[in-house]
């Protein structure tokens, strides 16, 4: 065989391998969707890999039996508020960490590292007390603030990494041209850090969308439920309907997946340029 054929064979087998891996990684989604659509009992052996007949009954039931639209609205609100709040705070913090070496920035770096070590279970009751005292309890804004606080350390650190890659000369030039320090930051540096910004926005949005532990603790009234909490209510005291669970899971995961599809291009380029320096 000539070397060209060998290379082609290797490429072909690697391609097949990649597709096989992709199929395995994708299978849980497939199974979730199939289980939500299966018209007859799910308790069959062997399991039917392709549904015998399809029905949307489970979807109809979850939308009629539960207030899915309210959960959607609340989750979307929490996720976007978390994302906006976290990003606004993180860009300022990240910029300070990137451009200054003073006592306050060093202290803050240690602070960030330390906060990455905190076990959530140790925080939850005192946090509940604080939320009661400040009136943030059972409010979606309060939940968004708490979610943001948990992503904030990593987000700030990532932003610092992205700013590090932008040469200081850019600001110096802008200031020579008459910008203030902050003006140079917001008008000149920030747009350059856009790919990084997308990473932070996406990460905080997904956290706000997915979070369960805080949402369950800090929200009480049903009208303020987010999807992750609502999802658990499909499991009643008595039974668990797997088709409804899977239908609800599909509905819950879908927006997050679509959002990811939308931002993934930026995500890849953003992480490529920023995370590497670490």
């Amino acid at each position: 065989m000539n070397p060209r054929t060998v290379t082609m064979l290797i490429s072909a087998s690697l391609f097949v391998l990649t597709l096989a891996c992709a199929a395995i990684v994708f299978f849980p989604y497939y199974w979730m969707i199939v289980s939500s659509l299966e018209a007859t009992s799910l308790f069959e052996w062997p399991p039917r890999l392709v549904p015998s007949s399809i029905t949307m009954d489970a979807y109809v039931r979850i939308f009629t039996e539960r207030d899915v639209f309210t959960w959607f609205k609340n989750t979307a609100f929490v996720a976007s508020t978390t994302s906006i709040f976290c990003t606004l705070v993180a860009i300022n913090g990240g910029y300070a960490l990137s451009r200054f070496r003073t006592g306050s920035t060093t202290a803050f770096s240690i602070f960030i590292l330390f906060s990455q070590l905190l076990p959530a279970t140790l925080i939850v009751v005192p946090l509940y007390v604080i939320f009661r005292q400040t009136g943030l309890y059972n409010s979606l804004i309060g939940l968004a603030i708490a979610d943001a606080a948990f992503v904030l350390p990593l987000a700030t650190w990532l932003m610092k990494g992205f700013f590090d890659r932008i040469p200081v000369e850019v600001e110096e030039q802008a200031m020579v041209d008459g910008c203030t320090r902050l003006g140079a930051f917001y008008r000149i540096v920030l747009p350059l850090a856009l790919p990084g910004l997308v990473v932070v926005v996406a990460m905080s949005f997904i956290t706000g969308w997915d979070e369960f532990f805080l949402a369950r603790t800090l929200i009480s009234s049903q009208s303020n439920w987010v999807f992750s909490v609502g999802l658990t209510s499909f499991e009643t005291q008595y039974a668990i309907a797997w088709d409804e669970m899977m239908a609800a899971a599909v509905v819950f995961a879908l927006p997050a997946v679509l959002f990811f599809l939308f931002v993934q291009r930026y995500l890849v380029s953003g992480l490529t340029s920023g995370a590497v320096k670490g």
């Binding site: 509940y128 009480s220 209510s233 009643t236 008595y238 039974a239």
Partner: protein, 413 residues
């Protein structure tokens, strides 16, 4: 806190006057959305609101999967509801912590004092009553008569018949004869199942004086008996209580030990099966029916204890209690005579009442002598059981190890 207490005391003195004030009465529950159970509860609340203009009831739903955790977090933070239902297993630790108000005055001043179920004694400590029963349905044998008929067997009444019936179902229909939770993720259901057999065979994990009896003869006999069903493929492996119920409703499991609420589940999932479901006396030697259920309690720091008492009266309304029995087919917290029509319509209802009266056992899912620390006790037992069920240890080894672990644990108390 002190201000709240004062306010509560003032409200008590003022009596009915407080009913005129408009405020939100807070009653969390896991039941608000549970089909017909939820409807019954919402109907009671509507009646309460109609009788007390100005008071709005905040029906906070806490899903049952994290009811206890959420509620105790709220109480720990000083966020105390006015009135609430609690699962029976939550009662002893709450009484011990002193966070519940004695309800004796409320009971005396009401019209239901002589109707309360005797199991109220489970909520009585040192002469004070800290809770009243919400429901006290016994768990007993539920059977799918269709599958049993197909297998050519009748309703089992003793151990040998039970085994034979399970085997016949497996051999003749291919479905499982007996379903029980053995997933070990949620300790309480696996523990309750072990109680069915241990208490059913005249033993328990501990004695009232605190002696641990995890490896005595009858415990070994009981656990060996359970394991046989897994080993011979007569019972599904590794499933949780909720999946087992779902399977029963789907006609995939012929028998299980559970409460009458399973019938409501069947009604929702597979209405065609309802006529073929029967509720029978346990086929164990003692016929003991483990009794769980729930209680109504008023927290000590309840902002409106007098209205909570009024609310209890609405829940205990005789006509509503009758419906609790006849519509939900569960035993309500007060004594109710079933109507002729109901007994005719639901053939097993009479048997359920009889079982509740004759064979109540294991109230509160608590090991005798360890009611307050029951959660830890149950977890250690279920750890041991999962080693045995999975075949990691033999029954004898597993129970010997469990006996040692439990004894060591009692020393740390």
């Amino acid at each position: 806190m002190k201000a709240l207490m004062t306010a509560a005391a003032l409200a008590l003195i003022a009596g009915t006057a407080s009913a005129q004030d408009s405020y939100t009465f807070r009653m969390p529950s896991w039941m608000w959305e549970e089909g017909i159970v939820g409807d019954w509860n919402k109907d009671r609340v509507a009646a309460f609101e109609a009788a007390n203009p100005g008071i709005t009831v905040d029906k906070t739903l806490i899903p049952n999967t994290h009811y206890e955790q959420t509620l105790i977090t709220q109480i720990a933070a000083g966020d105390v509801p006015d009135f609430m239902p609690v699962f029976t297993n939550m009662l002893a630790p709450m009484i011990d912590a002193g966070i519940l108000a004695p309800m004796d005055e409320c009971i005396e001043s009401s019209g239901f004092a002589d109707r309360i179920l005797p199991s109220v004694s489970f909520a009585q400590v040192d002469g004070a009553t800290y809770g009243v029963p919400l429901t006290m349905s016994p768990q007993s044998l539920l059977a799918n008569t269709q599958l049993l008929e197909e297998a050519g067997v009748g309703i089992p009444t003793n151990l040998d018949e039970f085994y034979a019936a399970a085997k016949a179902v497996k051999d003749k229909t291919g479905e499982f004869g007996y379903g029980f939770p053995n997933d070990t993720a949620s300790a309480i259901h696996v523990y309750i199942n072990s109680m069915h057999w241990l208490i059913g065979m005249g033993s328990d994990w501990s004695q009232p004086d605190g002696t641990i009896t995890a490896n005595d003869e009858s415990a070994i006999a009981a656990v060996s008996w359970i394991k046989r069903f897994l080993d011979e493929g007569l019972s599904p492996k590794g499933l949780g209580s909720k999946t087992v119920r779902q399977m029963f409703a789907d006609g995939k499991v012929a028998m299980l030990f559970d409460g009458p609420w399973v019938v409501s589940t069947v009604k929702t999932i597979n209405p065609d099966l309802v006529p073929h479901v029967t509720f029978e006396v346990m086929p164990t030697p003692t016929h003991a029916a483990i009794t769980g259920g729930a209680f109504y309690v008023i927290p000590k720091d309840s902002p409106h204890p007098d209205d909570a008492c009024r609310m209890l009266n609405v829940f205990y309304d005789p006509e509503a209690q009758q419906r609790y029995l006849e519509d939900l087919v569960q035993i309500p917290g007060t004594i109710v005579e079933p109507s002729e029509a109901f007994l005719e319509e639901v053939p097993y209802a009479g048997k359920m009442a009889e079982i509740a009266a004759k064979y109540p056992g294991g109230i509160g899912y608590a090991p005798p002598g360890y009611e307050i620390q029951a959660a830890e006790f149950r977890q250690i037992v279920v750890d041991g059981l999962s080693r045995i069920y999975s075949g990691e240890m033999s029954v004898q080894e597993g129970l010997d190890a469990l006996q040692r672990q439990l004894e060591n644990w009692t020393k740390t108390l």
